[in-house]
């Protein structure tokens, strides 16, 4: 290892986001994989915030509208995300209720809140906490897709429970809205550049 303290940016280099090739910052296209080279993700903060806000707004219909509609003997019962969790609790499936509650309520909300916090921290965050904030970012990246579980459960039940006239399960509009929340917040996490937090820390240290 040459100088373990040097960052790519301080040497006038940029790391390809896709293949990790180190090239000069003037390079436009990665010579190894052909991706476009950016020293830092383009418009990272603006993009992340825009996607985050859209996801936050979409989270409201995702919780208010029904995610699943059960037609049983001419009777329609609509259930929301939280309604489904309460139903599971009533049935005594506490473990499954917890999984769904964590995946559909706790994880998305925590994720949105933490991403807002990270965006704010790029300019105003307390110095000395960059390491923890980077760890938080990696956690957000890892956990993002697990929120999709409730959408999959609805899709499975719709396909499985299809007994004409007797018992039919239909997807509700919240399924689409919630899938949108998960996808948008995954793209938001991908647009955020944790290196911006380190850039500021380095500027403070100097």
């Amino acid at each position: 290892m040459s100088n373990p303290q040097a960052t790519a940016a301080s040497r006038g280099l940029a790391c390809c986001h896709l293949c990790l090739k180190l090239v000069s910052q003037e390079t436009h296209r990665c010579p190894r994989c052909g991706s476009t080279i950016h020293s830092r993700k383009a418009n990272s903060l603006e993009r992340t915030l825009a996607l985050l806000m859209t996801a936050t707004i979409l989270y409201i219909p995702a919780n208010l509208l029904p995610i699943m509609i059960t037609d049983q003997l001419g009777q329609s019962i609509e259930s929301t995300i939280v309604g489904g969790v309460i139903l599971l609790l009533d049935m005594g499936s506490i473990a499954v209720a917890l999984v769904i509650f964590a995946a559909s309520v706790i994880i998305p909300l925590t994720k949105l809140a933490l991403l807002y916090h990270l965006c704010w921290s790029v300019r105003r965050g307390p110095p000395g906490t960059v390491r923890q904030r980077t760890a938080i970012y990696r956690g957000i990246e890892f956990i993002g897709k697990w929120s999709m579980i409730d959408v999959f459960v609805v899709a499975i039940l719709v396909a499985l429970i299809n007994l004409s006239n007797l018992l039919v399960i239909r997807p509700g509009p919240a399924a689409l809205a919630f899938a949108g929340v998960v996808i948008l917040s995954m793209v938001a996490a991908e647009s955020f550049d944790p290196r911006l937090m380190w850039d500021r820390q380095e500027a403070i240290d100097e």
């Binding site: 990790l20 897709k145 380190w198």
Partner: protein, 216 residues
């Protein structure tokens, strides 16, 4: 095209330094000194950098092939059977996505199909092409393109999430009806384990180093 001969037999990784910058904090590291089974993490922010496994590409190719066969089985046989008041209905994996179209949700159907079948299948097929080329030390013009598609799509497969969803649905339905698992259920269960194995065995930095080396 890589030239034949003795030079090719030398481990390409340890002869030249292999610099990369940490994706979380931009610090530069040289990962060329990694030995078989060793992995490197960033000293400043603890982010994972790279892991070197001697026969990584042969292993990933074998696992990817097995996973692809299992996914094929998972799509062609009944996934779950429902028995309710003397009535029976069978569900297949493609129906999980296709039935959403008949309920007026083509966009959601498209997303579900992508996350659980199409993206994993495309990634596995391209992975077979890439690891096959690397393991047999041949360069093709499409190799960088294939690598780019694999590493772009790989974070969008939700195979393991879907399987947890299957287990949750089983618990939900078993309260009101009898559910039987079909052949495809077990095939997809095994597929999701192998898929996760293939993805975690594939190292970004090492893959691209080999692709670059083959193109020289």
């Amino acid at each position: 095209m890589a030239t034949e001969g003795e030079a090719n037999r030398v481990n390409p990784r340890r002869s030249v330094p292999d610099y990369l910058a940490c994706r979380s904090c931009d610090l530069i590291f040289d990962v060329s000194m990694l030995r078989d089974g060793e992995s490197a993490s960033c000293t400043r922010c603890a982010a994972f950098l790279s892991r070197y496994t001697a026969n990584q590409f042969e292993q990933v190719a074998a696992v990817a092939l097995a996973a692809l066969v299992l996914l094929g089985l998972g799509c062609s046989y009944p996934f779950m059977l429902l028995k309710f008041n003397g009535l029976e209905s069978a569900m297949t994996l493609p129906q999980v996505s296709l039935n959403l179209i008949s309920h007026g949700m083509p966009v959601l159907s498209f997303c579900v199909a992508g996350f659980i079948i199409v993206i994993p299948a495309v990634v596995l097929l391209l992975l077979l092409a890439m690891t096959g080329a690397i393991a047999t030390e041949r360069h093709y013009r499409w190799l960088p393109w294939v690598g780019r598609v694999i590493f772009t799509l790989k974070s969008w497969s939700m195979v393991e999430v879907f399987f947890l969803g299957v287990l949750v649905s089983l618990v939900k339905v078993s309260r009101m009806a009898t559910v039987e698992m079909g052949v495809a259920f077990w095939a997809y269960a095994a597929f999701s384990v192998l898929f996760v194995l293939a993805m975690s065995g594939l190292d970004r930095a090492q893959s691209w180093r080999r692709i670059e080396w083959l193109s020289q």
